[in-house]
Symmetry: C2
Subunit: 223 residues, 2 copies
Amino acid sequence: MTQIMDTAEALFAEEGYNGVTFNRLAEVAGVDASLLRYYFGDKEQLFQAVFRRRGPELNQARLKSMAAYRESAGKNLQLEGVLDALVRPGFLLMAQDEGWRNYMAIVAYVNSSRGPMHALFAETFHYVSREFIADLRRIYPNVTEEEIYWSYLFMTGALTFSISGTKRIDALSNGLVSTSDTMGVFHRFPIAMAGAIRALCERPEAVRPPRTRKSRRANTARD
Amino acid sequence: MTQIMDTAEALFAEEGYNGVTFNRLAEVAGVDASLLRYYFGDKEQLFQAVFRRRGPELNQARLKSMAAYRESAGKNLQLEGVLDALVRPGFLLMAQDEGWRNYMAIVAYVNSSRGPMHALFAETFHYVSREFIADLRRIYPNVTEEEIYWSYLFMTGALTFSISGTKRIDALSNGLVSTSDTMGVFHRFPIAMAGAIRALCERPEAVRPPRTRKSRRANTARD
DNA sequence: GTCTATACGGCGATAGAC
DNA sequence: GTCTATCGCCGTATAGAC
């Protein structure tokens, strides 16, 4: 059962949802296709089962990690800290377990797809995204909502690509740098993305007009 | 002919390579499947034709834009400038043309995929990537190769996700921010990614030991 | 629970009429 | 160049024997 899902996970990670057939899935897993059906239903249900299997564990770890950082930082939240807290659990799991690497590739696949898989992704990940966005707001209470979401866009794009398991950078750099160097990615990700978010949110244009009554926010470029 | 490729482009952008069948492609394009074969060969050849159609135009525009920026900046290259020069042509094309938006989604799809499509992507885009990386080296001559490639990884990830045409941010932000606001993405992308690259490359650990013959390499991280 | 047999449709691909 | 006819295969899915 676990073995079947591991196999499905690996295949979906490698070839995407449409790249694998139900029968081949059964064949590679070494079970009869009918048996696979008996357990999981049709192909879509199997995919959903794979997608959902590790989601709660990852989310709980992330929420716990983020809460712990908030606790330790008190009023003094740092970008690097909230970013590290967000991605640490995932990268640590990826670093030690191939199943997790495959799972992350599937998450990246779904996140990069259009269409009906949106719902599946949202169901699992939107809550954590909102928690992270709430942290950004705490760090930048005077920055517009828009700029917070733009920041999130670039952050999540870089993250998605980093966990997708493509070997693009390996090829470009002739193996000097590889996304399979999970800890190398993990170490740099919060640094880079903190820089990106800072650059976006600390522009004068990113600041919203104060909602307080006595508007002292004069001379900014755009109010 | 052009019309056929536009249709194929739109379908591949929406559903990915494996999400579309050759017959449906013909049906939606309003031509007989045999005719489609007569023109393009099999499905893979059609996909390649679509992928290659706009590549040279985009690349030439990028190389020109990058050369123009180098020219204007002289010895004083800025991160924002090289980033802007790199992505400007693509975003401008996307902003005015749906075909280009579809094409970019396909590029993002291929870039996010594992497997044999690597070659197709590399053939078209590696050259420009190397040009961009060369610019990064000019800006940071003392930064390690590794750090340059890590910078490129996060940059290209954010870019890939930004052009992929998913509506994830639209959903998260309840429509406040949308990746279909091409100019909004374009405007912020160089700012954000310059911040990211700066954060990575201006750490002391990112600096490499000097390569001069009188190697004083000793104990300093910074030279 | 597990495997066999089988239905049916759609897929990619070819031959050939016009 | 364009369309019809048709092939064999593989896809998902079901019924039912053991």
